[in-house]
Subunit: 321 residues, 2 copies
């Protein structure tokens, strides 16, 4: 690597959900996820001309699939914890994205250099989230099954429209392992896939060993932490809408072109951005803007190219000095 | 990375089976695999003082577990192909090894720099292995289930002692993606985990896209290819015996201290090394010695430290000039 010139293109961190590969109404077959990965990769390859890319994907649907698979086979194969399910999802999603990106980068006449890293993220064993699990995950159960699992496995459940659903802790990311590796690979000009699903949740035991825990980590918060640690230039959160809206889903819905952290916090306090969906994205964006003084762009994959040229998207911008 | 001095320690590629984490008689729970990973990591951390390490692990037991999980849940979740199962196993094994290695390297007073890469390995769609699947994988089925799966899914089966078992193609690795990344990370002094399970098998379509295929790749052959491509210095194949034996398992068993490729081929021709176990290791070792002119060491994890000092282990050495 010392022989290569240093790559000076700005580093764009792109965070997107695991549902980018599992569109609504799809069964989530491997072929469907591969086809979606090709679409996302084509958009990202276009972006890769002028940017070095750091990709942080979510894993909601995939970790749900793994959990169902692991539980279905529990009489034949010891079931996995959520850390191992998260690790498995990093392998599968990393594979689909890397395969698609290599093809699309080459088709775009670019160097098809892609690295998918298995990423561990440390959380604090004393994080209050462990006392108060809130993140729904996996299948819907009838009540008697939920009661049984609560008794036998100590799982917590919430009642949702379609049945009872397991809830798991979502502690804050404290430390991402492998930041230097990510930095070195970006410097070498690779498209880097890291921090998938927010990272595999581990706690650090007093003797220094790292152990997986039954939790999930919000990928946007991990992306925000990775952005700061790597010193990236541009933070993009891809979602299913081209722009964030005020009064989303009502007659009065109004797209937001730009807002400062203060304005965003005021809208959050009004309950404009629901906790399970747009809330964590705005929260992550605000943290990044406040800590880095840089803008954050929230938009959809389809609107990304235009938004980068200033047409469309929602920008969270630093407070005017 | 340009700021760091170049690491001059020799690069040792260590290949070991997925069963290194699932000892015989174990159920293969996550806790058991974690405990075994800690043991392997302690041995490797010791080696890391004087070597840069490139680790290529197998995934036989883990990919079998994933396949059973995937098939058990097939009415709820679309089942995965073998490429995705291989990818999932890279995630899970990479996680367990990286977590253990970081702790053990730190305990040894070394820089805990570890990178686990998701690795794609290209195979040739015209490889004759696709016409003649030979590698047994996954659970044992009663005959009526095997017949049903053969009809519905087109799977091939062999009769083994405990029942019918699916056999899948094991094509030769043609190209490993990410070799430059592996090289750059080794140069930066990281312990690198790559090529797990021989790599995720992909074929290259005429339009340049990479697509996973239902196959498994021998990890020792992938390790041999990676050894040459990376230009590593020392090739070690860890197995469950300290030394390769002639007439293994008989009264006349004799440990082999060293042999040349010619001697190894003669013994292979005698049927000394069974195809499913020691055979591919000897085959990979012979290829490496012939292509690189370097020695290959075959030994067990427990005997490794001694073998590196010349006490124990079996060395495949170049023919005397």
């Amino acid at each position: 690597m010392n022989r290569n010139p240093v790559d000076v293109r700005p580093v764009a961190l792109i965070a997107f959900g695991g549902n980018a590969l599992v569109p609504r109404g799809s069964e989530g077959t491997e072929d469907e996820q591969r086809a979606e990965a090709e679409k996302v990769a084509a958009i990202l390859a276009d972006l890769a001309r002028d940017h070095r890319l750091l990709l942080v994907h979510g894993n909601g649907p995939q970790v749900g699939q793994l959990l169902i698979q692991s539980e279905s086979a529990r009489r034949q194969v010891p079931p996995w914890g959520l850390a191992a399910c998260g690790a498995g999802s990093q392998g599968v999603i990393g594979f689909l994205l890397e395969a698609a990106l290599r093809g699309q980068l080459e088709a775009a006449g670019l160097d098809p250099k892609v690295a998918s890293l298995v990423t561990l993220t440390e959380v604090d064993a004393a994080d209050p989230a462990f006392q108060n699990p809130t993140k729904p995950i996996g299948p819907y159960y009838p009540q008697f099954v939920a009661d049984d699992l609560a008794g036998r496995r100590g799982w917590k459940f919430v009642r949702q429209d379609q049945g009872w659903r397991r809830v798991v802790p979502s502690p804050a990311p404290v430390r991402i392992y492998g930041v230097r590796t990510v930095g070195a690979l970006l410097e070498a000009g690779a498209v880097v896939i890291a921090g998938g699903g927010g990272g595999i949740p581990v706690v650090r035991r007093p003797d220094g060993t790292l152990e997986g825990v039954d939790a999930v980590i919000d990928k946007d918060l991990t992306a925000a932490l990775l952005f700061r640690e790597v010193g990236a230039d541009l933070f993009v959160i891809l979602t299913n809408v081209a722009r964030v809206e005020k009064d989303y889903g009502t007659d009065r819905a109004m797209p937001i072109d730009r807002m400062t952290p203060r304005e965003a916090r005021a809208l959050m306090a009004e309950g404009q951005f629901p906790p399970g969906s747009m809330g964590p994205k705005i929260e992550a964006a605000v943290r990044v803007v406040e800590a880095s003084g840089r803008q954050v762009l929230i938009t959809s994959a389809a609107a990304l190219a235009g938004a980068l040229r200033g047409q469309g998207g929602t920008r969270i911008v630093p407070e005017a000095p």
